[in-house]
């Protein structure tokens, strides 16, 4: 498997924020999740090392934008 870029961060339980590093993907556990509602279709991918997240990507599809009305009042 190829090497992929990871980053150990305090936010995900590491002792401190480390510089990004390359690691063999075989060493990582991969999972993915999905949220689908009226507002968004969101997919996230997570890679964990020793149970802690070291890589997390997110793809958000906005399902519906913002709108406003323009009305013309006559009379």
């Amino acid at each position: 498997m190829p090497n992929i870029l990871i980053k150990k961060t305090k936010h995900h339980g590491w002792d401190e924020d480390h510089d990004a590093e390359w690691i063999n993907e075989d060493l990582l556990a991969y999972s993915t999740g999905l949220l689908d509602d009226d507002n968004e279709h969101t997919i996230w991918e997570e890679w964990r090392l020793d149970g802690k997240i070291v890589k997390r990507g997110v793809h958000v599809r906005i399902k519906k934008g913002a709108s406003t009305d323009l009305k013309i009042m006559v009379g």
Binding site: E45, I53, G57, V60, R61, I62, K63, G65, S67
Partner: protein
Amino acid sequence: MANFAGFCNSAKAKLLTGTYALSPQDANTNRTVTTADTMYMALYLSSATITFSTATAYTTAGELIGTGYTASGKPMTSTLVSTSGTSSYWTASSNITWTTLTASTAIDCALMYNFTATTKASLAVFTFSSQTVTAADFTLTMPTNDGATALIRIV
């Protein structure tokens, strides 16, 4: 503190005074510039307070600070405004991706604003589920560009 999505109240008056040109304007004897403005999308923390009812312009307050993110956000690719039935609408022609982003503090909001305008006038607020990103891409995928779902719609 929370972010709330919607068409910015402040933008409604500015629509009537020509603050936003999402695609090239008609020629006008008072204005010589008819090129489209450049719209930007900026990302905000879940702890920020960006709401359609009060947002008037781009702000750094509550904006994401992270590796792979530059303040002000990213430009949106321009396309022509379309009309169908009683609706006019616009959606950026490309998705927006921040590559190899690290956002350790959760984000849940994007502010669309007019980067070209001196005031950086806001146009709309979009929200999504609270997300962190670590050494990977964050992509905002545009909705279908039609009268029912386009990113910006006047109905």
